[in-house]
Subunit: 356 residues, 2 copies
DNA sequence: TTGTAAGCGTTATCAT
DNA sequence: ATGATAACGCTTACAA
């Protein structure tokens, strides 16, 4: 109630706790208690206060509260800029899942893009060290580090999702990438395939290692060697997933002794790959079987419909939030946990036995 | 520097402005000035301060600052829960574009899901009235309103994106939906089509009115009547875009005097529709031409590749941010502005002349 | 140009 | 059970 509140410049900051206190005829500290610890105040008093608050349309000021208690209720999610395009198909679901979970406990979700420039890194560090956010969920293996400030230290709660970073000390929520790909590959082998093309994302990162590892394991178990699989992509990090598939199709065209089955590490890659090879006259799955990773809804509606390993995005988001909010204090205790939530192979038309 | 800062419980709140001041040998207010108005402080002093700040790894506390100046630097984007799935293909781009623009000016982006429940409405209102956020970009026509509190009043800066809500008093950034669909339809007419199927999103909303209006206008100009177009979808609001396409395909199957061209109001719908009708033995574009709205990257890789009206998401995001940040004060001045950014029709294989 | 001091709207400690 | 009061970390008149 700073200036004229109902004159014309209705630009004011709304009713304060002091206003509620006055209207209810109690002290301001009592209002604070009534709102935070309803149990520690007389029922009658509380009723008066609640009524006054409602009547005034009172909303507590979050910044004042945050400043006082030294905590914010905001969590940030750090997305590599490329992700918006790369595994983009699942990003909206990731955000929604995380946001829904956060709201349960009165928390909020802020987005942070981690691009390859110092500006975005500095920005994220400011968010963290400036107390704006209380913790972070990261979908990136690289963490901002500028001017000696580093997100990795600072006892700042961080949970990694999708990528396993438990070795680096961050509790991680991942799916069983290796096993899922192993099973998908095993299924292809069972169908009769013996020569494979693996389309990689950024080479050497967790997903690549695990997923490619899964392929090799399946080959092993079937008595085949890694000779049976060729790789494409991988060297091209940070780009549009669709482009990787296009590139892979062109690699495929040059291959002698052609693979009869393709394992793509994201749906995007598979979709553009399929599109390109179909244009060269090949039929899927007759000439080439395809399976990919992510479980984007669109896979069901491709021609042919695409087999895909569906990531349990919702559960992963929920788990990440639960761990993050739970872990507020500890960190540094034991080794970081690694929570695995199983993917599900969805079999569709794109997988079948090889021709001959 | 509350307790023991390098003993073991490294859990403290980091260096304060007071620490910087002490180290630099100046008053705290001088530090504040040096950081905010570098011009209003002696170059030498400023150098000392900068050095001290850097040495300590100082980051200003955003909540304290926000509380003091009565403003937050956070903007929220309000997404209808359904959007994550519906026109989901463009949501990541929207978020990225808005976030990048915001960061330019030191602002941050918070996500708010507007679901159909009171909890999410209340949550958003708390964000606004509690001072957490400074303004909002809405992708929804419905605004939260609970307990007498309403986002629509409150002099709270709001900009609408995608939907034109200038009549309701919100500056809006939209694309030329009507015109774009009119042109696409005209192109279909030019190709020889005379009977159309229009696949609607939520019936009666801005997009439906404009886009359907565009179809009818094109028919008009060609001397055709609205009899030439049948509608599908529309009654099913808020659901997975893919489902609407599936439903439309089943509607299509039952139609007598079949349309030869389809105008879908989102890529999702078009994709699932195409998939379904292809399974009934129809060929696209031989038996049926298809064009849709959004410009999702995946359209290029469908079979056949899909013609689509590409929304200028990046520019819309930038414009929305510019308007929102510019409009901090005014509002209520004149009528709300309506900023139109043109879409681009991308012609691909899915559009061709009718068979006979 | 720089320093002093009064808040911003809460919460939490201490009395009462 | 309730009330006065001192922070929380910063910005901004106002003084020097």
């Amino acid at each position: 109630m700073r200036k004229n509140q109902d004159m014309l410049g209705e630009e004011q900051s709304g009713p304060l706790m002091a206003d509620v206190a006055r209207l209810a005829g109690v002290a301001i500290s009592t209002v604070s208690r009534a709102l935070a610890n309803p149990g520690r105040v007389n029922a009658k008093t509380r009723a008066k206060i609640d009524a006054a608050a409602k009547q005034l349309g009172y909303t507590p000021n979050a910044m004042a509260r945050g400043l006082r208690i030294g905590k914010s209720n905001i969590i940030m999610i750090i997305l590599p800029g490329s992700l918006h395009y790369g595994a983009s198909q699942i990003i909206p679901q990731v955000l929604q899942s995380i946001n829904r979970s956060l709201i349960q406990g009165g928390h909020n979700l802020m987005i942070a893009n981690l691009d390859r420039d110092e500006v975005s890194e500095r920005h994220i560090l400011d968010l963290a060290f400036g107390g704006t956010v209380r913790g972070a969920i990261i979908l990136s293996s690289k963490l901002p580090e500028v001017d000696g400030r580093s997100l990795a230290n600072a006892g700042f709660p961080i949970v990694s999702m999708l990528l396993d970073m438990s070795d680096a000390g961050f509790p991680s929520v991942v799916t069983n990438d290796r096993e899922a790909v192993r099973d998908a590959t095993a299924e292809l082998i069972r169908l009769g395939h013996r020569r494979f093309l693996y389309i990689a994302g950024p080479e050497g990162n967790y997903h690549d290692v695990e997923r490619y590892g899964g392929v090799v394991e399946a080959l092993d178990q079937a008595g085949l060697t890694a000779e049976a699989v060729r790789r494409s992509g991988g060297n091209l990090d940070y780009q549009h997933g669709f482009e990787i598939g296009v590139q892979a199709a062109s690699d495929f065209a040059r291959l002698t002794d052609k693979p009869t089955a393709v394992i793509a590490t994201s749906d995007d890659m598979a979709i553009s790959f399929v599109s390109c090879v179909q244009r060269t006259g090949l039929s899927i799955p007759e000439d080439l079987s395809v399976v990919s990773f992510d479980g984007s809804p669109v896979c069901e509606f491709c021609s042919p419909s695409l087999s895909t390993i569906e990531q349990p995005v919702d559960e992963m988001g929920q788990a990440a939030v639960a761990i993050l909010l739970g872990a507020t204090g500890q960190m540094e205790n034991g080794p970081a946990t690694r929570t695995v939530i199983r993917s599900k192979l969805i079999l569709r038309e794109s997988m079948a036995g090889p021709k001959s």
